[in-house]
Symmetry: C2
Subunit: 229 residues, 2 copies
């Protein structure tokens, strides 16, 4: 028996990824919101990188507490520690493909799209750092087109991003997109197949928890909670 | 039996990480240098992210070719595909810690230090984009101090970064540092314990292959190849 606490922030796509994975695996957990940019001393002790998510696991049997941070490390940990369906995949080559695409959205998509928009729109607002830089927003809105087209390209020959199974690749991509969707920054009309794929993920019970997320000063976009948008 | 080709670039810390891991695991491979920024059509077909490293594996038995890209995916793949010592770790918590720290250097260190210096000094030169931006270099040189101090902090209670064993955490960190060391951008006198740790890694046969790397227009720093610096 273990008690899990996840330190997260609503607009962190990496927190969202872990929340969805936990729910998909049927693991119970408690959420704690962490304003990570405040660099609280207690939080830095949990993760000196001062980033969310951080997973804290208290093992009731041996009274030990385990800490895992870095969202990739957390996902691999959950896969190794908890039985059940694997969301990385069973076959070694499927696993490599799921990890490749998860890496694509964790890194390439994040730095080319999500980070530009979230830093400018949300974190600047939360930290009173002035108006968003419109060049950054524009760059992100140009960059996202190639990524949506790439998802569309993958879906032409596959049911899910990494193959025939729903994997961490889908979870990672949808987590990034969901933050942008909250802000109304995804053009869902560009690729109907991408919209359909995202709708399927949005309908999963694991995803519903994201609908209640609140970001002070921001209203979710009109279709954020809608399964039929 | 499999034949492995690794597409790499000498100044890519992610390529270096995979090269060291391959050598540590005793896996034979052929290196192919890829000027990834040229975005050759043939290379984009191997990895649409247009990034190195890319691992191409030809299975002599079933005549299949497997492609893996994203350096994290490649390292996990090599661990799953090839037997022998695990460089992620054996125990589940050790593995989480090795992956956490590997993530630290893949992401935090890379974006706060390596990328700033390599983009400004090397890629601008290779692409004829003018002089390095001195603000970027200065920021990187400030940022690296905290990272070196953090390595030193870890080494106060551990033999290697993630614990008592040499892992992917050490390989990842040393790969990032080795690129900066080539350029003479690491102040090795700041933390004697970090220098000692790096010397031990530098002495490993797996690391020697990096000494012969050539970057057109750049001379390696005075101590780059020296084991006693």
């Amino acid at each position: 028996m273990a008690k899990l606490v996840l330190y997260h922030y609503p607009t962190s796509p990496f927190s969202r990824k872990v929340r969805i994975l936990l729910a998909e695996k049927g693991i119970e957990f408690t959420l704690k919101q962490e304003n990570f940019w405040e660099r609280r001393r207690m939080f830095l002790a949990l993760n000196p990188a001062a980033q969310v998510p951080v997973l804290q696991e208290f093992d009731v049997n041996n009274k030990q507490t385990y800490l895992v941070s870095d969202s990739v490390a957390i996902c691999e940990y959950l896969e190794e520690r908890y039985n059940g369906i694997s969301f990385i995949g069973d076959d070694i080559f499927e696993r490599a493909e799921a990890r490749r695409l998860s890496g694509w959205f964790n890194n390439k998509f994040y730095y080319e799209v999500t980070k530009l928009i979230v830093d400018e729109k949300i974190y600047k607002f939360l930290r009173n750092q002035g108006e968003p830089n419109s060049n950054c927003i524009r760059a992100a809105k140009t960059n996202i087109k190639d990524h949506l087209d790439y998802i569309s390209f993958l879906l032409r020959s596959r049911k899910w991003l990494a193959g025939e199974k729903f994997t961490i690749a889908d979870i990672t991509a949808a987590s990034q997109l969901s933050v942008l969707d909250f802000l109304g920054d995804v053009d869902w009309e560009r690729n109907p197949d991408v919209k359909e794929w995202y709708c399927l993920i949005k309908s999963r019970p694991s995803f519903r928890q994201l609908f209640d997320d609140v970001i002070p000063g921001f209203e979710p976009s009109k279709y954020y909670k809608s399964l039929d948008f």
